[in-house]
Subunit: 311 residues, 4 copies
Amino acid sequence: MYNFRTDMADERRDIFKKANKLDDNIPGIESFERIENEYIKSNTVKILDKQGEQALGKPIGKYVTFDLKNLKLAGEEEIEDASNIISNEIRAIVSEKINKEGEVLVIGLGNQFVTPDSLGPKVVSEIEITRHLLKYAPECVVEGARSVSAVAPGVLGTTGIETLEIVKGIVDNVKPKLLIVIDSLASKSIHRISSTIQISNTGIVPGAGVGNTRKELSENTLGIPVIAIGVPMVVDLATITDDCLDLFIGKLQDEAKSNDYLNQLKNQDNYEEIRQALIPNEYNMIVTPKEIDELIENMKEIVSRSINYAL
Amino acid sequence: MYNFRTDMADERRDIFKKANKLDDNIPGIESFERIENEYIKSNTVKILDKQGEQALGKPIGKYVTFDLKNLKLAGEEEIEDASNIISNEIRAIVSEKINKEGEVLVIGLGNQFVTPDSLGPKVVSEIEITRHLLKYAPECVVEGARSVSAVAPGVLGTTGIETLEIVKGIVDNVKPKLLIVIDSLASKSIHRISSTIQISNTGIVPGAGVGNTRKELSENTLGIPVIAIGVPMVVDLATITDDCLDLFIGKLQDEAKSNDYLNQLKNQDNYEEIRQALIPNEYNMIVTPKEIDELIENMKEIVSRSINYAL
Amino acid sequence: MYNFRTDMADERRDIFKKANKLDDNIPGIESFERIENEYIKSNTVKILDKQGEQALGKPIGKYVTFDLKNLKLAGEEEIEDASNIISNEIRAIVSEKINKEGEVLVIGLGNQFVTPDSLGPKVVSEIEITRHLLKYAPECVVEGARSVSAVAPGVLGTTGIETLEIVKGIVDNVKPKLLIVIDSLASKSIHRISSTIQISNTGIVPGAGVGNTRKELSENTLGIPVIAIGVPMVVDLATITDDCLDLFIGKLQDEAKSNDYLNQLKNQDNYEEIRQALIPNEYNMIVTPKEIDELIENMKEIVSRSINYAL
Amino acid sequence: MYNFRTDMADERRDIFKKANKLDDNIPGIESFERIENEYIKSNTVKILDKQGEQALGKPIGKYVTFDLKNLKLAGEEEIEDASNIISNEIRAIVSEKINKEGEVLVIGLGNQFVTPDSLGPKVVSEIEITRHLLKYAPECVVEGARSVSAVAPGVLGTTGIETLEIVKGIVDNVKPKLLIVIDSLASKSIHRISSTIQISNTGIVPGAGVGNTRKELSENTLGIPVIAIGVPMVVDLATITDDCLDLFIGKLQDEAKSNDYLNQLKNQDNYEEIRQALIPNEYNMIVTPKEIDELIENMKEIVSRSINYAL
């Protein structure tokens, strides 16, 4: 299978079409776009059969991607509008799977102490949970309220335990009817970082993500429907550089440039051109190791001790 | 002046030499390397005169860079060794400038809520301050102890005030004899992120950093000697991509490749090659907007509201 | 002067009246109450002259206290209502002191890492600052916008520097026309913790607070008007216990109880009675050392090492 | 059963003896003290049979309490010494229950965002886990290393799920041989807050704690041995006030005081006496609602909005 290096279904569709020089739809794939409002556009990709599965490396199901423009500058009103639009989609998928009283468990994947991996735990702490109230203080809950619980199970690197094992254990004991899993994703586009949301009715089935050996969280492994809500948080550095090379080679070929030109290119400072070509104006992109939080703790230790000893 | 896009004196020296095809030392610059121990190497660059200043875009003074190998895996012992070696350098510079009792103020620059910019405030919170004890509880301090205070003044974007204005105000009132300023730097090399420390006796004189319009923190502007301790925390994405292009063009030229080859290159997946060429094995580099913390708060809001509304 | 052990002007007024068996107003003091809405009551105390100053141990000026009911359960609407009511008071005081364009500096006192002392720094990080925009990007600010900056200067225990020295330094350099200072206060009543706001036009003039030797932040020391916004965050344990004894002695006297009764009292478990008498139902009051954050770090270290060594 | 309002076995023993006027040992209870070093004293209470269980309201087993003096001022050396002494006790209990390779799961109870309840999650993040390495990278682990994993399951109020249900789910899936549970406890003495550690081989069996309806975490409910490591973090306000009343009534009785004396007592300020009697000198005790973190977030919102609206 193609190594897509993105978890976004619509990006995979585009990569597949380009790689296979397809103008029409991919067999087994159906997709359409919708303008939700002035700031929000959605993109739905349906994988219909085995052939579609094979093409995009993702299981049969529906993947809806919401692109939010200018999230960084979003005020209270835009946030409220976006929440309403996206909640409609979630509500629709939930009601296809379970009835109005069906218990839901929300799982926030990721490491809360590593910023670009912290969305899941942060969302979990904002979910309005009702399960304990329904059990111990039913008078505090509106009649007919759905039972909702929420857990951030941590990551393999900090617990020593596969996420699937923890989630399976909780599901077996708590017996919810449906799971909503929040996750950080990889995208191929820096424009989409923390400003795009992908909702799917298939759960999380790791395919060609960033060297991810995580186990599947899905109806297959857990026995109940799993809705996945993912937000791209990082782009792999090599992915971006690879894109840049492609663009660059294209330019060389188009212009049938001479060796002199190459020489000149190499000696001149192409920084500003590259900056403008690759990087959206609103953000200031930086390259950082994923382990930056850990590194900075050690460095803090050394620098502060050095000063303390010196003084 | 050349746009170095790095704050490290030794990287600037290398860039200048390469750009000017110099094999020998740069006029006005003296430099040497030292193996400090199995894990630590230091690199001293002395800028001796106006000519040296011009070349590197940094003021006359001494810049010592310590490269720590494998900091990520450092145990208590390596941290202690590194602290001792670096404290010797700091002690030496301090004692050139002030006497044993001279009061020192430590300033931690940066925004504590943005991980790659949080080193300064984090170090400040670990400094053993004595100024208040000497003033209000002298019996708690060893005889002859130096007066040490420490402040994290915040950043322009969160206070609305230039760092220099705040620091100048404090210096005018507290009247220390010397300032030590901790700062996050930009480097050209991802290998150096959070594993290199640069100490200089010149303070912070922003030159060709990453679009930095910050004002100088130095004896010039503050009236007392300023020692700067900086640690590279980020590499600019365009810088890395630019380096990559240079490498790539070099390869094309060396191999006098045909258009067929270019075609092939473009169609094949160069990801793994690029990955191996550019990225150190120990770290998992990611590209992220500098504003990631702010973005993630908005996104958390939207995703959690969407779920709450839907359920 | 009486040791009030509270920073709240209305509590001091009540203590003074009770201690001096006054039924009428205290000479030099004027005060009135107002129902602001269903949830909010305000209490204004004006200290008119030297005699009033002497009585309450606070300087001449106006002190307005807003009591918010059930803040813990407050929804978005109640928070918005409260913000509007309190902003009216702040706006009124500000406009008495400076004109519409007069620059304001907001100072958040306290230690952000100690929860009950963290209000000031937390508020500062939410203030909409404009000073840097007016200076560097005036096109981003509405015409006629006031210049606002905001600093959290830290506390003596972590900087080694008196807050007044830092603030004075900044004021001298930034030259605002008015200061708003946010502070955590002591109250005599556990009902008021984090649900009462006191606004005064006198700045912060430490009198009989909890062993507080802090220096005055006021027009006297800084040369510009200072508005103080304070929120009670803690009650001193001995204060509460003292109140309890008073109540208890009163009960003994009222009932002219015999020694047998005392014996019985001592042997029975009075816990539930005390609990009900002293502690508001909504909150679960705990007694904790102010240094709990520091203590817990050491304890974490010991427990985790113990386990690691044992395993 | 007596309402002890403490989770510490040695405090319960003392309360029971005093309440029942026992001079000798309690039937069914064995106990002894040991001086561990200059700073550390341990106290072992063994509950031997049903009679002992009944007396102390805790199950048959061994409870060892370590009192650390002056933890607040502890340096690296004292922390290391304490860790060694306590790890010996843990190692002894572990080796009674399982063999050298037996897999251990560490569970950190409590809410990481509420300081006095955050010890468990904080310890978990420092545990050296090996389970994932043994599974996926055995070459990184020393030959014969024990499999260790660690989870902070959150609290009922934030997950909606009983801790027992989550832990049971994980235990059923991960199948460790032994559990170590870290927990925050209630004590009757403010001197013990965050400076005492109780280790027991019985797990957590909630009895007469502070209104605790939590379910048992023990071999009974989980099917594997459970070691509990607890640290007192709070004292209930009514508990302290009740103690104070007892002391006070005793004083009245001893001195057969007249009504005049009561009058005088009531009118004088007893604050300093109470302060000295009740409160250890090293710490500055405060009374705060357990929900302080939540309250402060709402208050931050109101104060910052008020200022923003006003300006």
